[in-house]
Symmetry: C2
Subunit: 428 residues, 2 copies
């Protein structure tokens, strides 16, 4: 880690910058793939899968027998662990159901909201070395709880054209409608435009690399909604002098192992803890199977010494981390001052891994500073909140004159007239 | 209106299509304006305002004395009407504040969400013939209630370089931080990139014409969040044979007068009501100051006869209207079957004008079929819901083994280790 001591406020902005990508070039690539999918449908998908994933598929959609069969291939211990995660994720996301509150804003004027699930959604599960079945749980459980009728899942096949059984098992367990062996930009294109095999969806959710993220952002220009732009993962840890250096180092590494482009930041008022963590990092890094990835990520990472707690939380709010771990004695107090973050972990036992897998909170979170303007995935990601209103005779009499006055001032006389004809008829 | 009798299911999709725009051309225009603003800042804004609004401004930001002075120029009756609207909009949007619910997903594992306001937001108020102060109320009241620290408002100046006093009065009344005389694509560009005068914001909300909408969609590729793509306004009315043709016609016209590109659709199981509404439309149209606009909009509009209530609501769900008026005896029942709509008006006295101005619901709503995947503006539009978790010693012992199991299965050993080091230390 690069250690920065007491940087001035002017330097803060520079320190919070993420490595930038050339958006224009990515956009061009996305546009070309999208155009091809619009024109050629499935054929384009087969071609890209052959080109990028190095495998010639016969079918894009996973057969339902393969889906069901996956259960056999997943160890019982893992199924049991997944069941714990499913239970906790379900409990937490169920609590996000909004109760209907009818509000009488004026006598006879009643307004309320009701949630309706988006009918068909698409879920993207990244490929790579690790089979991210946990992301299947995180994305599909709230979709199902919200009441989405169709949940389409896309994930890239491996070199043998297969999807990891743990992913298929998880998908089947939590009610995914269909699984497609499609990855990258082409998966987002398929879900956006629809092809012979893949139905178009109204919203696409899920994390991805820079290509997937660029494709999701572009999909918005084609009428599809997305959860958020979710790029390389990141954590910021605020640790005080009493923090456990072993725990802090372990948490930093659990983020660093995600990818060479992961962002890992330690902020502290204690020079000693920063030094101790460096020692622990070296020690723990040696034993990690993914030590090459993690040590690359650490090279781009920062340990920042600041003078006060207020400065630590101030820096964190400016950085807007995806994950924020408060490894301090006053963590509960500090949590109240969080303005920008995706998910916050309070105290020494709330490690990021807990939220990544099983505590119940969602792990699909805004990265790259997007915690300033986006929330993580939740039940809200899968519903529209529709407003309803009922107005009685008394209600229109109460509210009518104000509407007439305002409509006239906006020179919208037909708006005014819609009230006037009603008030007139009530006078008869 | 074009009258269509008992169309087959195959025709439905065609009937629900909106007039399409050439997105690619708009995108090019947006990119050019954005590029210019990034390079030249305020200078580009002054140039575009001169070119598009035909006025050479000296300042982009409205002076605070002008803001305060606007109160003098607004009639007392209008101020009183606005006060009614402010009260109702405030009441309804306050009810959207989420209470914190701490969920113990497992013994010792506590998860919850807290809302945090987006720090700086931008509001766009369209220009044109009508001074849309009502949109100022609809966008700024929930921003203020959510706790946004800075609310920046952009709206195009008139030919004399002025902003209508009703807009300035409304902005001042509900706590807008600053008002800028900037319209169109350049307003969205200014809020996206920031210039010498205009600070960059994290989210842009508000309706607009096709240029503004295209610019908002493009702004998302530059890290800014938006409320939704909100294009030309639209209403769908389901009326039964007992509906009041005069009311229905008045409601159709109140939508049609918005613009020649407004969409107005009547769906009914009664041939008689369709015929009666046509007669009423002619009668009421004559008296409207904006009859040219409204009659153009009506030309593109449809009256559709269907056989059953189920078909009527089915058609509406496929169309996904911004506004849905249920002018039927069984409106309350029908409302339960709504899947896709922005805002729903139940019964004969709930006219769209009520929601447009004063009942309390928001009038910034998804158009163009976006009701399938977007909600209208609400308190939610201005907050991020951040997840928090606290895990006790007992909690990590309970949940730890499941996390270790899943992390190992995903081959993320540093994730596993973050739990292992904690469990080990607890055993000591």
């Amino acid at each position: 880690m690069k250690i920065v001591k007491n940087p001035g406020l002017k330097e803060w902005e520079l320190l919070t910058r993420r490595p930038s990508k050339s958006a224009a070039e990515l956009d061009k690539m996305v546009d070309a793939v999208f155009e091809n999918i619009r024109k050629k449908g499935d054929k384009a998908l087969f071609d890209y899968t052959s080109e990028f994933d190095g495998v010639a598929l016969k079918l894009l959609k996973i057969d339902s027998s393969v889906l069901k069969d996956a259960s056999r291939l997943v160890p019982a211990k893992l199924k049991k662990a997944m069941a714990v995660a499913v239970q906790n994720i379900t409990r937490f996301h169920l609590s996000q159901k909004e109760k209907i509150q009818k509000i009488e804003t004026m006598p006879g004027v009643i307004c309320w909201r009701e949630s309706r699930a988006i009918e068909r959604v698409g879920i993207y599960i990244p490929g790579g070395t690790a089979p991210l079945f946990s992301t299947v749980l995180m994305l599909a459980i709230p979709a199902k709880l919200a009441g989405c009728r169709e949940i389409m899942l896309c994930t890239p096949p491996d070199k043998n054209g297969k999807i990891n059984p743990a992913i298929l098992y998880a998908a089947n367990l939590v009610g995914v409608t269909a699984v497609f062996s499609i990855g990258g930009i082409q998966a987002i294109g398929a879900l956006t435009f629809g092809t012979e095999s893949v139905p178009a969806v109204s919203k696409i959710v899920g994390p991805g690399n820079q290509y997937v993220t660029a494709a999701k952002q572009r999909a918005q220009n084609w009428g599809v909604a997305i959860d958020m732009p979710a790029g390389p993962s990141e954590v910021l840890i605020i640790a005080d002098k009493k923090a456990d250096a072993e725990f802090v180092a372990a948490d930093l590494l659990s983020q660093a192992e995600h990818g060479a482009d992961s962002q890992v930041i330690l902020v502290s008022t204690s020079e000693k803890i920063i030094a101790d963590v460096q020692v622990e990092l070296k020690k723990q890094l040696k034993k990690l199977p993914r030590k090459n990835i993690a040590s690359q990520a650490l090279k781009n990472s920062l340990a920042i010494l600041l003078e006060t707690d207020a400065a630590c939380i101030g820096f964190s709010n400016l950085y807007a981390p995806e994950h924020l771990i408060l490894a301090t004695e006053n963590a509960t107090e500090l949590a109240k001052k969080v303005i920008n973050a995706g998910s916050v972990f309070i105290g020494r036992y709330a490690c990021e891994s807990a939220g990544d897998y099983a505590s119940g909170t969602n792990h699909t979170l805004p990265t790259n500073g997007y915690a300033r303007n986006y929330s993580g995935v939740s039940l809200d990601s899968y519903v529209r909140k529709i407003t309803f209103q009922k107005i009685s005779k008394k209600g229109i009499r109460e509210i009518g004159p104000a509407i007439e006055e305002m409509a006239e001032a906006e020179q919208l006389f037909a708006h005014k007239n819609a009230v006037t004809v009603r008030l007139k008829k009530l006078k008869k």
